[in-house]
């Protein structure tokens, strides 16, 4: 058992792989169509998913916990099917199966050597909790509780809760709240632990909402009522089956928790909106354990927004009625390249004001290269090609119907259409050795990217790159190549519309290192955007933190935008954690200063627990 500190890139041993788990909970959704961990589906606790086992193995390796009954159950429940390797490799280039094997070996060896298995002692509180949720859905076994000690935040230290409980109904939640109030026990609600501010970890009780996965469509009224355990990916899938779309956040994020914490935002927020635009109604269990319905006139006004103030949670969101949007047959995606951020911003503002396109977003070379590339090494090479050879530091993703795409063409912007995107994506390995790339840049001297207007450019690109799933898969671990080759024959894997709807690639941004996004709302004002972009960069440089422009999406008819700047950090390096915390504090202070100075800039952290607000209150009050 090791107890050393390793770099994030070093994943040669099970321990190193385990401690480099990004905790994104992507192993809880079937985003590749390859299936997910059987035991996780059955047991629901995160501990029974690969993510939980990674945390457990890390803790065991560091002698933080003992072998318990649940620990044995968790280890035994893994059938080493290897599904998690596909998922985790796709996103983070890691293969958790070796951790699962190591966990099983570790437990087996311990028992074989006569090690004592610790039994969690059931106390009065646990007995009371179990009376409410049933024997199987509450525990104080440390093999379970340790797996709830992390979230995505670099700001908070891990905290191990005393109990984890998984209710199945809102009535059970109400009873739990009353029980905890009566016994003065701290409780914390947890979705999939994607909070960036450290609010999903705590001592006391963690209420994991993942069992409540009800999905009820009311197509007549264009909404779907969901329980708090429904993940964005799963909901989108159900909506798509019925011919609809929802505005979805991160795929593994639970939708109710997502609204509560930040409000849902995506590139589709350009037309679908943010915050209260995304739902019709919601139900809550308040602090006293009573149910209230958001649209009831006597309920607390969660549509309001208070800037520069951290509010307390209004309660537990136990259901939300999410708006459904129509899907048009001729929707397609394009990528419009730009040499400067200023030009890209002008373009998205113009499109948003004119209501051109359904979804719009500016992404930088870091984003696009990371999303497209199957490995870190490849991403780094592709980023250089995009910036240096193709002179494409920025791309605007546009999803629109045929009329929107035609309009953009008429506006005079050359773009990569779906066919060119396919060629570029599946031909990525050839791109790196393509001699003709240097000519392409010179070709753009007079008019940037004019080669994209050539009628036969797609044909030439296909000839030059020989794109295919087989070629693309050459970049991945040889053992996984057959799987990846098959995977990339699935049309959705290269479909810009699908990729934007499901956002499965965004987690790849944390492949090199976990990242902390600095998110703000502000007017689409080039001077202001460039100023803040520069200042966020300078802060990161001051603290020696890897950083890059994230994305910009216009909202509310082009009056405002969402702007993300990303700071990257090694979550296993205490010194880097210290610096990212300082950088984050300084960045937030900067946003506060601009918020006061301009009256138009709004920092994202204040949306926590105010995610149900009207966007007008958030953006303009």
């Amino acid at each position: 058992m090791q107890n050393n500190v390793n770099k994030p890139d070093n994943i040669s041993t099970p321990y190193e792989t385990a401690r480099n788990c990004r905790h994104y909970a992507m192993c809880k959704i079937d985003f590749l169509g390859s299936g997910i961990c059987d035991s996780g589906l059955e047991k629901h606790f995160v501990s029974f998913y690969p993510q939980g086992r990674m945390i457990l193995y890390e803790a065991l390796s560091e002698n933080k916990i003992s072998i318990t009954e649940k620990c044995i159950e968790i280890a035994d429940s893994c059938n080493l099917c290897g599904k998690c390797d596909y998922q985790c490799y796709f996103l983070n280039e890691m293969r958790p199966t070796k951790v699962m094997e190591a966990l099983k070996d570790h437990v087996a060896t311990y028992i074989k050597n006569g090690g004592k298995v610790k039994s969690a002692k059931e106390d009065r509180i646990l007995t009371e909790i179990k009376k409410i949720v049933g024997e199987n859905w509450a525990t104080n076994d440390e093999a379970i509780t340790i797996t709830y000690s992390h979230d995505l935040s670099p700001i908070s230290d891990p905290k191990i809760p005393d109990y984890v409980v998984m209710p199945n109904t809102k009535e059970e939640i109400a009873s739990l709240v009353k029980l905890f109030n009566k016994n003065k026990i701290t409780y914390t609600i947890r979705g999939n632990g994607q909070n960036l501010l450290g609010f999903a970890v705590n001592v006391g009780v963690i209420i994991d909402l993942n069992r409540i996965k009800t999905i009820e469509f009311d197509e007549k009224n264009w909404y779907v009522k969901i329980g708090p355990g429904v993940a964005a990916f799963d909901l989108q899938k159900q909506a798509q089956k019925r011919g609809y779309r929802i505005n979805a956040g991160e795929p593994a994020a639970l939708v109710c928790a997502n609204i509560m914490c930040s409000g849902i935002m995506s590139t589709f927020s350009t037309t679908y909106g943010i915050n209260a635009d995304n739902f019709i109604d919601a139900e809550f269990i308040d602090k006293d354990g009573s149910l209230f319905i958001l649209n009831d006139p006597s309920s607390p006004n969660l549509y309001s927004y208070k800037n520069l103030e951290h509010k307390n949670s209004p309660g537990i969101c136990v259901s939300a009625s999410i708006r459904l949007h129509p899907v048009i047959d001729d929707e397609r995606g394009i990528l419009v390249p730009f040499q400067t951020l200023t030009n890209a911003v002008d373009f998205i503002r113009d499109c948003a004001i004119r209501h051109i396109g359904l979804a719009l977003g500016i992404v930088g070379a870091e984003y696009i290269s990371t999303f497209l590339s199957p490995t870190k090494k490849s991403a780094s090479e592709i980023k250089n090609i995009f910036v240096d050879k193709l002179d494409i530091p920025y791309l605007v993703v546009v999803i629109g119907d045929k009329y929107a795409i035609r309009t953009i063409s008429e506006m005079g912007y050359p773009f990569f259409d779906q066919r060119l995107f396919n060629a570029l994506y599946m031909g990525l390995p050839s791109l790196k050795s393509a001699q003709w790339m240097d000519l392409i840049k010179e070709l753009s001297d007079d008019e940037p990217y004019s080669y994209l207007r050539l009628k036969s450019f797609a044909d030439l690109l296909e000839t030059a790159l020989s794109p295919s799933p087989a070629l693309y898969s050459q970049e991945v671990d040889p053992e996984l190549r057959p799987f990846f080759e098959k995977l990339f024959y699935k049309p959705e894997m290269t479909d810009l519309v699908w990729l934007n709807m499901y956002r499965i690639m965004s987690t790849r941004l944390g492949r090199k290192k976990p990242f902390l996004p600095v998110l703000i709302y502000l007017p689409i004002d080039n001077a202001l955007i460039n100023e803040l972009n520069n200042k966020f960069r300078l802060i990161a440089e001051k603290f020696n933190i890897d950083n890059d422009f994230g994305f910009i999406t216009p909202i509310d008819n082009g009056k405002r935008c969402i702007f993300e700047y990303d700071y990257f950090f090694d979550h296993n390096d205490p010194e880097e954690l210290r610096r990212i915390r300082l950088a984050a504090t300084e960045a937030n202070t900067l946003v506060d200063e601009y918020s006061v100075k301009t009256g138009t800039v709004k920092g994202h952290p204040y949306v926590l627990y105010q995610g149900f607000c009207r966007k007008e209150n958030l953006l303009y009050s």
């Binding site: 001699q435 000519l439 007079d446 080669y451 050539l454 044909d459 000839t463 020989s466």
Partner: protein, 389 residues
């Protein structure tokens, strides 16, 4: 010739194609050079010049080369006043070779800033220094469009092929007026299109003549890859195939507006002729360094086919018919050569009277297959400049 007999020469553009060749040659013939320039993202002025010197095989400079980081747009060239005065005191002649050679209309502002607005700094310096001779490296194409016989006189053209030509013509006029007013002798040296060394094939830059060849080679390689590695399905669709003798048949119809010439000179001729003009021509003047035996694209295409083992290139003089169906290779090639098209079938003839007199009838060589082969093989060996320095 000893250093004492040669005027100390301030040279701009020493990191560029023509400037670097000129500098290297002048250093080896005993000139003391003060290279005026700037650092850029590729390195400091010193780093860039030293890289170039290594490429030219020049190592020991014995105090012959001085480097001064300057900014044309700032007073005193951006130098402290004392340094500026010192520079002025030792400069005996100036060769202004620095230039933005972009043809792009989109870059008009930058091109005019580099080629015209920045003149004030260098001309003020000329006036302040003890230099009594100013040599300006221009282009033969300041003659503009619509002219058939181009004399060695100042251009009064109103229309040009591109912004580069226009800016160089404007610069010539400004410099000429200034030198006249300041009683500084002026020579204006106007090369046509310059390619690599006719003896060795070596070159530092691979645009102009090289660009169409490089474009055609890239297109060839794309289809060869398709034929060798992917069954040639795409190639077959476009009528591209490998002949039995290993030649690639790649139909490439190149339309040029009218029958004309490609006026190219090798850089060794440019350097030798320029040094002769600088040394022989005491009163100054305008000199066309052009080729009186210009080549044609038909000849270049033939050379290309021979060297690259390709068939199917066809030069067609006349306007391209509307709605002509172009294969992908032709469409891409058309786009690649678009900025250079006016120079590929040029009907202009250049007066060389002054140049012949000043250079003792030094003439550039005819563009033969041997020269073509040498130059293109060198270009390919250095990956068209990607792995040169």
């Amino acid at each position: 010739m000893s250093l004492q007999n040669k005027p100390t020469t301030a040279l701009t553009g020493a990191t560029g194609f023509l400037g670097s060749h000129l500098m290297a040659s002048m250093l080896t013939t005993g000139y003391r050079i003060i290279a005026l320039g700037r650092s850029n993202k590729e390195g400091t002025l010193k780093e860039r010049i030293f890289k170039l010197m290594r490429w030219f095989g020049i190592e020991a400079l014995d105090g012959q080369l001085e480097l001064v980081e300057i900014d044309f747009l700032k007073p005193f060239l951006g130098l402290p006043e004392s340094e500026y005065k010192e520079l002025c005191a030792k400069t005996e002649q100036i060769i202004h070779c620095a230039s933005d050679t972009s043809f792009s209309e989109r870059k008009r502002e930058n091109v005019f800033k580099s080629n015209v607005a920045s003149l004030k700094g260098i001309l003020d310096f000329a006036e302040d220094s003890k230099a009594d001779f100013f040599h300006y490296i221009s282009t033969a194409y300041v003659a503009g469009t619509g002219v058939t016989y181009c004399k060695e006189i100042l251009s009064s053209a109103k229309s040009f092929t591109n912004v580069y030509e226009e800016s160089k013509a404007a610069a010539e006029n400004i410099i000429s007026r200034f030198c006249q007013k300041s009683s500084i002798r002026l020579s204006i040296i106007r090369p046509s299109i310059v390619y690599g060394d006719s003896q060795t094939g070596r070159s530092l830059k691979f645009n102009a003549l090289y660009f169409p060849i490089r474009s055609a080679q890239s297109i060839r390689d794309i289809y060869l890859n398709d034929l060798y590695n992917n069954g040639g399905i795409k190639a077959a669709k476009n009528g591209i195939y490998l002949d039995k003798d290993g030649y690639l048949f790649l139909p490439l119809k190149i339309y040029l507006p009218e029958e004309g010439y490609l006026n190219i000179i090798p850089v060794d001729y440019f350097v030798n002729a320029t040094i002769k003009i600088i040394e022989n021509c005491s009163q100054g003047g305008i000199y066309h360094l052009t080729n009186n035996l210009p080549t044609t694209m038909k000849i270049v295409a033939k050379y290309y086919e021979q060297l690259m083992k390709v068939r199917g290139v066809e030069i067609i003089y006349g306007l391209q018919p509307d709605n002509l169906l172009r294969n992908p290779a032709e469409e891409l090639f058309d786009r690649f050569i678009e900025p250079y098209r006016p120079y590929l079938s040029d009907k202009r003839v250049f007066d060389r009277t002054n140049a012949c007199l000043a250079t003792d009838n030094l003439n550039p060589p005819e563009f033969t297959y041997e020269i073509f082969k040498k130059c293109i093989e060198y270009a390919i060996s250095v990956n068209w400049g990607q792995s040169i320095l």
